[in-house]
Amino acid sequence: MKYTLFLGCNIPARVQQYQLSAKAICDHLDIELAPVKEFMCCGYPMRSIDEFVFLLSAARNLAMAENRNEDLMVLCKCCYGNLKTAQFHLKENTSLQEKINKILKKENLTYKGNIKVKHFLSVLHKDIGINKLKSCIKTKYKKLNIAASVGCHALRPGNITQFDTPATPTVFDDLVKLTGAKAIDWSKKSECCGAPLLGINDDLSQHIMEKKLSDARQNGADFITVACPYSFLQFDNFQYQIAQKNGDWQILAPVLYSQLLGLSMGISPMRLGFAENQININSLTSYLSKEDTKTNARENSHD
């Protein structure tokens, strides 16, 4: 299997470990990833300023990806949601397409709208499949409670993103469960992490995050798992900043899903970039059950 990889802005700059761990997993699963260094910003931050520029930015990336014959795999949920949104609005809107293609022409690009955009989790869930993933697990987690934070922009608007059922999302929980961890049931799993307001209204951003984290904690979560750099930075960096100032703060450590899955696949914490996390997640290894439960399965899968 081969995909064009879209990283966006945050991952290469601030969440390198997501890139590292996702690539390590793809290596493990024989997924070939083609990084395109000419990709630009997906347009997400421009939405508050000028939605035409947002569409243009998204369309430029999509046009670039269309020149390759592979589906586009996106790691960031905000990038994913925005690329999907742009595709949705550009579909059958020829006047808008023309306006955009006029600008893209400068770089010999044309937006056609004929590429599939998939989030990393969808690739794992649908294209690879739960069974194949299960067979790749080397050591299952034991007595590990994980709160899976779905991520707004992948989930909603559901008619556009088509990532999961917005009211009752299960994709992320399924992916957590196959590692042996328990995906806890919590009411705020598809709520916003608060990151969009960081830098604008920090108090509100903090409250939104606080409510979400405390809901996860109250439902017994040992870690919160995410598959989006915005959520990750919010839970890792911003939470850490708050905890530094507020001694009573109880930290709920975030772990990228690619790190969670990778560790159970037997990939080393170093390759998964554990050291890059601001909030230490080394204790995750202590949840790995001692015996290699899936040795047989692994052998089978190699046949």
Binding site: K37, M40, M46, I49, F52, G199, I208, F238
Partner: protein
């Protein structure tokens, strides 16, 4: 007799003047160069383009301390590594573009070698090689080879910059000036060599000085014949077809007297080509002292370039290696990760004094190569907004201007501010910069500086001046995310004030808290047009008219849920905004605090039973308000 003595005196005199003239020029340009470089380096510690909470730090002394402590630590190994890979082999250029690397390495090796082997031959080459003569191989040949390398480099540079110019590559006058200057130096050098080859007077001097033969000798005529044929010499008395006896004798004479100190002119191929090209006018030029005219032209252009090193793009020869060294030793920790820990110690705070000094140095290290522009994630924003300052290389130019103390005109300030803010902080410019400039910390620091300056500009009389237009609409957008992540580097007051001021302007206090009644007769505006909301909005943002007031959106909104008195604090809740829009009261809707506190999480839109695109409408209102604010503040 008297005539010949006067002639000899004249010759001695003119040689003396020549030597003096050369020396005066050399020392003057060296002096200008040296003073200029010292001034520029001193300047680094004096000016500031970045945000620095604690002013009055002794930047010069902390710089010296920093340099000394680095040199006497294990970092010295990293410096050596950087010297080899970054400075000499220019690995950072190779990483971004093979063509650019070929171009620059050709110029770099060619020019450096010419300086060492040719310009400094009396100091370096003569001492290394006892048999050195500028006219023997390999030196004779190498001079041409190095010259050719530089010329090829210049040609590639011109093709890249002006012919095959990729989108978003930017040229400045200084780029062209530098290319032309180097081009003139090389070309004048080649022309000088060429004219010397053709010159009979040069030939005569050589014959007298080295061979000790008399000009009218048969041997000399033969030698001259041989040189006209083989060495591109142009003589009035010898023309093709050549006398074969003379050629044989000439070769013999050449082998006995000249060959040891003069390799064939063809080996200096560029000079030889120039000689051939000059041959039709060679006699004319030789009679009018062409060699010394060309000589002066060449040395004056060289000395001009030397004197201009500190004041032109050429200064990158000094600043860029320093930039590469400093960033090889310590890059400031302006990312989210590990903001605490060791990085924070030892004055490596991204906004500390040494960082301010480093930033000034880095502005000089920029060669305006546009690699950053070509890799900039905000490229499409630039294409749509058409503000040059969105592109990194152009921001550097503006920041240089600001550092030089030139007051930015308010239009330019606004443009630079926009350029600095419309950055997605992907840090790619930092990764690709061939000069190793830590652009990301430059942006974060100078952006913060401008945010603070903006407050002062908007509010010149201080807090009590009564002016309330302190709006900085950019700060209310997703571009502020990285500012939020880096807030620990900014003093709390400085961090909060621009935000509170902007919120106060956007949502004036008199508008917070909705009145019990709404004036339905208030003037409706033309804001909503056939094509959607001004200036542009996504399709289906007219769906507010489907709203039947079930309040699902406001009930599910996590922002509304966070407020004790949402209607007071947010002015309008989402359902009320949809309703206002339906009533044509767009002003009421767009001035609500709700739209700037919207997370964009799409809960409202997802849960609307009437398929109203609530969240998209909120985004459209943001666009509208943002544009109005930007118009009013500029």
């Amino acid at each position: 007799m008297a005539v010949s003595i006067r002639f000899v005196l004249n010759v001695v005199n003119s040689i003396g003047r020549l030597v003096m003239f050369f020396d005066i020029l050399l020392y003057a340009s060296l002096m200008i160069c040296f003073i200029g470089i010292s001034y520029r380096i001193f300047f680094w510690t004096k000016k500031s383009i970045g945000y620095h909470p604690s002013s009055g730090t002794q930047r010069l002394s902390s710089l010296i301390r920093g340099v000394v402590s680095t040199l006497f630590s294990l970092s010295i190994f990293r410096l050596v590594k950087s010297l080899i890979f970054d400075v000499l082999l220019q690995g950072r250029i190779l990483k971004t573009s093979l063509l650019r690397w070929v171009m620059h390495i050709l110029m770099f090796i060619g020019f450096t070698a010419l300086i060492i082997m040719h310009a400094l031959d009396a100091i370096i080459t003569e001492n290394l090689f006892t048999y050195y003569y500028s006219t023997i191989n390999p030196f004779f040949f190498l001079r041409s080879l190095f010259g050719l390398m530089v010329l090829l480099g210049i040609i590639i540079a011109i093709l890249r910059r002006y012919i095959f110019k990729p989108a978003r590559l930017k040229n400045a006058k200084s780029d062209l000036f530098a290319l032309i200057l180097v081009f003139i130096i090389i070309l004048s050098g080649i022309a000088l060599e060429g004219i010397k080859m053709t010159s009979v007077s040069e030939f005569t001097v050589m014959v007298e000085d080295y061979a000790g033969l008399d000009y009218e000798d048969e041997d000399i005529i033969a030698l001259e014949t041989y040189w006209v044929k083989e060495f591109a010499l142009v003589s009035a008395r010898i023309e093709s077809p050549f006398d074969s006896n003379a050629l044989t004798l000439g070769l013999e004479t050449h082998e006995t007297n000249c060959m040891d100190c003069h390799s064939p002119n063809k080996s200096a191929f560029l000079g030889y080509i120039a000689a051939k090209m000059l041959s039709p006018v060679a006699i004319f030029l030789d009679k009018r002292n062409g060699v010394s005219i060309f000589y002066y032209f060449h040395i004056i252009s060289c000395f001009l370039a030397l004197a201009l090193v500190p004041f032109s793009k050429m200064f990158h020869m000094v600043a860029t290696p320093i930039s590469l060294f400093t960033n090889a030793v310590k890059a400031p920790p302006v990312t989210n990760n590990n903001t605490t820990g060791n990085h924070m110690i030892s004055g490596n705070h991204p906004m500390s004094g040494n960082q301010l000094t480093k930033q000034l140095m880095e502005l000089d290290a920029c060669t305006h190569c546009s690699t950053c522009n070509l890799n900039c994630s905000a490229g499409m924003i630039y294409e749509a907004v058409q503000n040059d300052y969105i592109l990194p290389s152009q921001k550097i130019l503006a920041l240089k201007k600001a550092a030089n103390g030139q007051e930015l005109m308010s239009k330019e300030f606004t443009a630079l501010f926009q350029g600095l803010y419309l950055c997605t902080n992907c840090d790619r410019c930092t990764v690709v910069c061939p000069s190793g400039i830590h652009l990301k910390s430059l942006w974060i620091s100078s952006r913060e500086n401008l945010i603070q300056q903006n407050l002062i500009r908007q509010n010149p009389g201080g807090q009590n001046s009564g002016q309330t237009n302190s709006a900085n609409p950019f700060i209310l957008t997703g571009f502020s995310f990285v500012r939020g992540l880096n807030k620990s580097f900014i003093e709390q007051k400085d961090y909060n004030e621009p935000l509170t001021k902007t919120f106060e302007t956007v949502i004036p206090p008199e508008k917070t808290g909705i009145s019990d009644t709404i004036d339905l007769d208030a003037p409706k505006n033309e804001f909503y047009t056939q094509t959607g909301l001004y200036p542009f909005s996504l399709p289906q943002t007219d769906t507010f008219s489907h709203c039947f007031g079930c309040r699902n959106c406001s009930t599910i909104c996590p922002v509304v849920a966070d407020f004790d008195h949402p209607q007071n604090q947010l002015t309008l809740m989402p359902h009320q905004i949809m309703y206002s829009m339906g009533l044509g009261m767009v002003d009421l809707a767009k001035d609500s605090a709700m739209i700037w506190n919207c997370l964009g999480c799409y809960q409202c839109q997802e849960n609307c039973p009437q398929n109203v695109n609530v969240c998209d409408i909120l985004f459209a209102l943001k666009n509208k308000t943002f544009n109005l604010l930007q118009e009013s503040s500029s």
